[in-house]
């Protein structure tokens, strides 16, 4: 079986050579915590054999699950490298640029896929407000699906992008 943890460590070492990874494995080996330190930053990942690599919010509460889940060592390591490189203020969500770079897609390639000019992608990535339809198209072009949810005190619901 491929050792995903070793693959993760190799990939991260290639991206962030000064990173140090400390492992805390359960008896079964099905759950491992990875404590990562680099450039005065500290990140905690959980690896579960069933689901992959989970990254938690900085102030995650007790019992809270990971905010981000990656099923491949490559994506997980690349995301950790992004977070380490992301200045002092760590964002708790990914931008389209983060996502595009994780999937190794240039602005030109993404523009071709959704049939717009590269400049439009560049502007899109710099805007603070974006069209949901364009974002949905970009995510679909990268191989994913955009879901929008509304969280209330007394309900948690998906919001339609089409109606």
């Amino acid at each position: 079986m491929k050792n995903l943890i070793a693959e993760f460590q190799d990939r991260l070492a290639g991206k962030v050579p000064e990173s140090a990874v400390k492992l805390d494995a359960s008896e079964s080996g099905d759950q491992r915590w990875l404590e990562i330190r680099a450039r005065n930053k500290r990140l905690t990942l959980e690896y579960l054999a069933k689901t992959g690599f989970g990254i938690f919010r900085r102030n995650a509460g007790f019992g809270e699950g990971p905010a981000e889940v990656y099923r491949t060592a490559e994506l997980a390591a690349d995301r950790v490298a992004q977070l380490i490189a992301s200045g002092k203020k760590r964002r708790e969500t990914l931008s389209l640029k983060d996502l595009r770079e994780l999937y190794g897609c240039s602005q030109v390639q993404l523009a071709d896929k959704i049939v717009v000019q590269q400049a439009a992608i560049s502007r899109f990535e710099q805007r603070s407000e974006v069209k949901l339809g364009t974002l949905a198209a970009a995510v679909k072009a990268l191989g994913g699906e955009l879901e929008v949810r509304a969280h209330f005190r007394d309900c948690d619901v998906p919001i339609s992008l089409n109606d």
Partner: protein, 90 residues
């Protein structure tokens, strides 16, 4: 201890036990065996790790909860009055 918590939830929560749904079903679950860790030199002590904390369970029923920085949040003695880290002088 896990059996006690599961029994209480079975009787009072009204929610069927399904640990796979721990994030969303509103029921409390005890630590699961897939996150159990041994403690070197302490066969009777078990450690369960979460994102920010370590929880230790001693065979005498003692419980100790620490942050990863070793700040003690709970240190409850077991039936014999000894705390989780006391029996071997840790």
């Amino acid at each position: 201890m896990a059996e006690s918590l599961t029994g209480v939830e079975d009787e009072f929560s009204g929610i069927t036990s399904n640990p796979a749904l721990w994030k969303s079903d509103g029921r409390m679950y005890p630590p699961q065996t897939d996150s159990r860790r041994t403690v070197p030199g302490r066969a009777s002590l078990q450690r369960y790790r979460t994102v920010r904390r370590n929880t230790y369970f001693e065979e005498n029923g003692a419980i100790r909860v620490e942050t990863l920085e070793a700040k003690v949040l709970l240190d409850k003695a077991g039936l014999d009055g000894k705390k989780a880290f006391e029996s071997d002088g840790l």
